[in-house]
């Protein structure tokens, strides 16, 4: 099939950038979306032009590197998948496809479709960790954890930190991400040592990075490739309010 691509091109952080149109032909429906971009880049290189820069790594939906907004929706039209898992059979001959980077003040565009997501790492550094003693390997299952709690923790821990929640949110809020990171520790005994200050510190960092805040539109949950539920945002609110209002530490 033949497609028209409207892609964001931007040389570097300080370049203003803009949309550039490309025509691409003989795209096979079996190709993945990123393979289609590889083909485009090969043809750009053959013509002596700069290839389009985009992030990717595993191409199997687990690393969280790929990050494209396709026709206005982060990770494209399929729900519960990353863009590396999207295939060209979802498009039709003659389609025009808009491809843009994540848009957020906290995620500056470094080049073309690549954004700087270090803001997420700084939020994790602020409180998304647990303290453990080094030494001999502890016995497995030495600390009992209820199945229901383990499930809640593991569901939250499936977050791959791709940032699609920020890209989808009308306020560029990171609260699904931060909520997932708070929730995964909240339901496990190992997370309790830092529990009282975790949410406060992560929220402080989140605000300082310039992310917006939740107005409960739930777009984040709709685009999340791991389908993280917005209950983690309620848990984040709860954890934050508990510490702030009771002053407990």
């Amino acid at each position: 099939m033949n497609l028209t691509l409207q892609m964001w091109r931007q040389r570097n952080l300080s370049d203003e950038g803009g949309m550039v149109q490309y025509e691409i032909s003989d795209v096979s429906p079996e190709m993945s979306f990123l393979e289609m971009l590889d083909i485009l880049n090969e043809s750009l290189i053959a013509r002596g032009q700069e290839p389009v820069a985009f992030d990717d790594d595993c191409r199997e939906g687990i690393c969280g590197m790929c990050s494209l907004v396709i026709n206005g929706i982060p990770h494209g039209p399929d729900s519960g998948t990353t863009v590396c898992q999207l295939h060209m059979r979802r498009f039709q001959d003659g389609d025009t496809i808009y491809i843009e980077p994540w848009r957020s003040r906290a995620f500056p565009v470094l080049r073309d479709l690549i954004v700087d997501r270090n803001a997420f790492d700084r939020i994790i550094q602020a409180g998304g960790y647990i303290s453990v003693n080094t030494g001999g390997t502890p016995d497995a299952n030495a600390i009992p954890v209820a199945k229901s709690e383990a499930d809640l923790s593991m569901d939250a821990a499936s977050c791959i930190g791709c940032g699609a929640c920020v890209a989808a949110c009308p306020n560029a809020s990171a609260m699904l991400f931060v909520g997932a990171k708070v929730s995964q520790f909240r339901h496990l005994p190992q997370g309790h040592t830092e529990r009282a200050r975790r949410a406060t510190r992560m929220v402080e960092q989140m605000d300082a990075e310039g992310f917006g805040n939740c107005t409960n539109h739930y777009e984040c949950m709709a685009v999340c490739p791991k389908e993280i539920d917005v209950r983690v945002i309620a848990e984040l609110n709860q954890e934050f309010l508990r510490t702030e209002l009771t002053g407990s530490e």
Binding site: A106, S173, E249
Partner: protein
């Protein structure tokens, strides 16, 4: 020892100011003030529906409220403060949220957001204009001053006459219809949203309870509030003695 050290460290820069400045702190204040305002709107509606019982009960109710004296002023003060805090935190969060995405998408799409959620700042702003108008109309009497001076045979302020006659004007009635439709929209997102903002929503509570609470409260307020101007305008409420 470690816990004592961390306790002093993280308590020091804390306090109400810091809490209100944080995004979640400001949002929780908005949810709480929104809840208080919603409770008021509900009570206000129930009180006013007494108009369907005739002139006597509604005028007695109005007289009772006036007789509260200083308590009435206290309630008014608390409500005004609540509204101001709600709007101030809304304004601040809206500014922060706009700033969080300085460059818009060329092609923007959404998957599931509702119209009500998207328009909260606009419905809120028009509501503010309506609150001012409504106070000028029935509390200060500056909109229709000729209707404000009626008294019933017991010498009480004749609220029944003021309301029923006031809504004979199609423009006044139309404005109340529009404003209450926007209020219903604001509440249909706001009431569902506040439980999430306060951190009490769980997946099993969310559907159907919390998700339906907003639309249910919005619809109830819409029907209850609009019954009065529409019934007056359609002549379903008997016009008082020798009026107009």
């Amino acid at each position: 020892m470690a816990s004592a050290a961390s306790a002093t460290r993280s308590r020091a820069p804390s306090g109400p100011v810091k809490f209100l400045r944080s995004s979640i702190g400001a949002k929780s204040v908005m949810a709480l003030t929104g809840l208080i305002l919603t409770a008021f709107v509900f009570g206000h509606m129930v009180g006013n529906l007494q108009i369907f019982l005739g002139p006597e009960p509604i005028n007695r109710y109005g007289h009772f409220l006036q007789s509260l004296g200083e308590l009435l002023w206290l309630i008014r003060f608390v409500l005004l403060a609540t509204l101001i805090v709600h709007i101030a935190s809304a304004a601040r969060l809206i500014v922060l949220n706009r700033r969080a995405r300085p460059i818009a998408y060329v092609l923007d799409d959404s998957v599931q957001v509702t119209f009500a959620a998207r328009t909260m700042p606009w419905t809120g702003m028009i509501l503010l204009a309506f609150v001012v108008y409504h106070l000028a109309h029935f509390t200060l009497g500056t909109v229709q001053p000729e209707l404000f001076s009626h008294h019933d045979e017991l010498g009480r302020h004749d609220i029944y006459a003021m309301v029923v006659l006031g809504f004979q004007d199609w423009f006044v009635t139309a404005w109340y219809v529009v404003a209450n439709a926007l209020l219903a929209l604001h509440l249909s997102h706001g009431v569902s949203s506040l439980f999430q903002s306060l951190g009490v929503t769980t997946p099993s509570l969310r559907w159907p309870l919390v998700d339906l609470a907003g639309p249910a409260v919005g619809t109830a307020v819409l029907i209850g509030n609009l019954a009065i101007p529409l019934a007056s305008w359609l002549g379903l409420l008997e016009l008082p003695y020798g009026a107009m």
